[in-house]
Symmetry: C2
Subunit: 427 residues, 2 copies
Amino acid sequence: MTVAEKTIKMKIDSPAMAATSEETRNRALKKVKEALIENKEIIFKANAEDLKAAEEEGVGQAVKKRLKFDENKLAAVTEGIEQLIGLKDPIGRTLLKRELDEGLVLTRISVPIGVIGVIFEARPDALVQISSLCIKSGNCAVLKGGRETARTNKVLFDIIHEAAKEAHLPENCLFQVEAHSQIDELLSCDKSVDLLIPRGSNAFVRYIMNNTKIPVMGHADGVCHVYIDKSADIDKAIKIIVDAKTQYTAACNAAETLLVHEGIAEEFLKKAAVKLSDAGVKLRGNSRVSQIIECEKMEDDEYKTEYLDLVLSVKIVADENEAITHINTFGSHHTDAIVTEDDEAAEIFMQMVDSAGVYRNCSTRFADGFRYGFGAEVGISTSKLHARGPVGLDGLVTYKYRLCGNGHIVGDYASGAKQFNFKDIDA
Amino acid sequence: MTVAEKTIKMKIDSPAMAATSEETRNRALKKVKEALIENKEIIFKANAEDLKAAEEEGVGQAVKKRLKFDENKLAAVTEGIEQLIGLKDPIGRTLLKRELDEGLVLTRISVPIGVIGVIFEARPDALVQISSLCIKSGNCAVLKGGRETARTNKVLFDIIHEAAKEAHLPENCLFQVEAHSQIDELLSCDKSVDLLIPRGSNAFVRYIMNNTKIPVMGHADGVCHVYIDKSADIDKAIKIIVDAKTQYTAACNAAETLLVHEGIAEEFLKKAAVKLSDAGVKLRGNSRVSQIIECEKMEDDEYKTEYLDLVLSVKIVADENEAITHINTFGSHHTDAIVTEDDEAAEIFMQMVDSAGVYRNCSTRFADGFRYGFGAEVGISTSKLHARGPVGLDGLVTYKYRLCGNGHIVGDYASGAKQFNFKDIDA
């Protein structure tokens, strides 16, 4: 069956998936958890083969760590499923209840989005998390994981799909796309897929965004800034920029640019350069920066660069307004922080910076669904529509309006025979 | 200045617009209202010229009614502005407040979307409503109205823009695109325009959706259904389908297809055909329908047709499931109604039909922001992301996350030195 044919079947099954009870969906999650534990040796075996192939291709230590699925990862994903089971049902919630007139009652009810396609990096735990989130939220999911863990993914997917069917979820609630070449086919399924969530490199996400009519949720760039205000506590500022730059350089929420108020630049930059250099960070700056610290020269138009590496752009700004304008112009509207002890400066920054996350006196690395207490995340969105920032269960639902009457017609209201009489009812 | 240059300026001004106080925005609305009343003769004069030109082009009576801006329309829009002033501020609301750990507090705050482009039909009152909604919600707005009311629009826009500036809203909060040829330029401004709301013909909206990278909110088709269940009250059913089809045929929420359960088809169709025919409706149906009533023959693949006229497709279905599948396949996910006295049938229909509005025993024509009690609407969305159904102020806002710490870094949590300790705080 082609991807197009399969997603049409999923679209047809999606109202039945949306209609499953909370109990059924939680039972399915419990079965998924148990099946993963029961079949762990098969999973580990497939993962060993993936790891061996990766080794032969000569992948680095950091990548191998992500590819690996062992007892620890199993424990983490099963604990995640247990947490998900405990979360409040995201669907079937009454978001508004209003009598429009006698006997004519409007309700707004949260419902699943329908069919969601998720394209994610080579991390077997991601496959478990994403399918669990979709089951919990009553969505049908098309999954495409990274090539390097194809064997592990296949085993994991079969176990999860089998458990879901045993719990009486619709047959077509889950589907795995295995070949990279099928991604383009998936992108053309705008009649049957309601939402795409691509995760991965900037170029890959941008490719997805530019080649589909399906709404896309996610982010391409993560050009995050830390701005050191003239009223910053220098020790705090150094701790924060070192963490934001070095704690995990490959993450989208890692800092790429350090902005410094000219009133504190000399003192701060001299101290910070030592600490950043100790942490292995290579600094780049324009000519003004290079007058204070040793750094690689860069041009002003390079401030849009996302390094995802131990490299940091540095710029001195005349005041907070220049910092805000720089961030809104050169940034990616992801997560940006100010370090300051001045409440007013903090308030202006957080108001005027147009990003999904605006932080004060903490590291940009906190931008993450788990750290926000969402239990899990499907990704981070830099779009302003639907969900913004880290996206948990809330981002996987929409709503529908129900209107119940007793023969009510608009003609009576247009003619003036009847009048609306809005009365909100506690939901 | 080109549209691209202007929208870049609006994007730069948008954080300042977002930062305006509720008081300032309400004061601006009050000034807009007063200025419209003060300058009404100038507006009426421009409108008379538009009407004269339309007359010369030979437009119909219904269109002229829409183009006209008189004392009644002025009273309606100024009353609308007064209502908007009274509505709760949609921005600056705390949607979530959570302590992640001691001294590290996350808040989710509603904020304007930024720069919104609205392309709307030739109705001067729409220009006033849309600009008022954008002012209330702190958004910058690019407005493009229909050509036939260009003179009225220009006068209205200048009055509104002047009043907004007098109230100290940013200079670039409003901008009017006057030439139809500039629409394509606007579509290319995906770096500076955050959202497009096109209203108008199916072909026009589809053109917009297919020719921009800017997120689009709205609907192309409105293929709405009324399904008459076997347990329907026939009198109610006839009243509802006549209203849904004829009360305003040009509206997107008018019914285009009548589905009838075979168990009630003979009795219902014979009675309904008389009433629909009395109301001037031409019926079309497949061969099964034509065995019961006189109608124009149609093929099954024509059931996707949006007539926007006194024409109605009719189909007999074997049961409720066939009705649901028909609606989910041939419909446009806008608004669909069941007429039934059977609670269980109603519940299944409303659960399984995948549309923005699912109705029981009332006309599809109720799908409208005013009738839902939203005070005003910018349009109706058939997308499942962001806003669905009639869109009022709620659909013009997004949110941002604020995180305030005191030197908090992720390294401490990754190493286990600190643990998250989530505590929701009443907002």
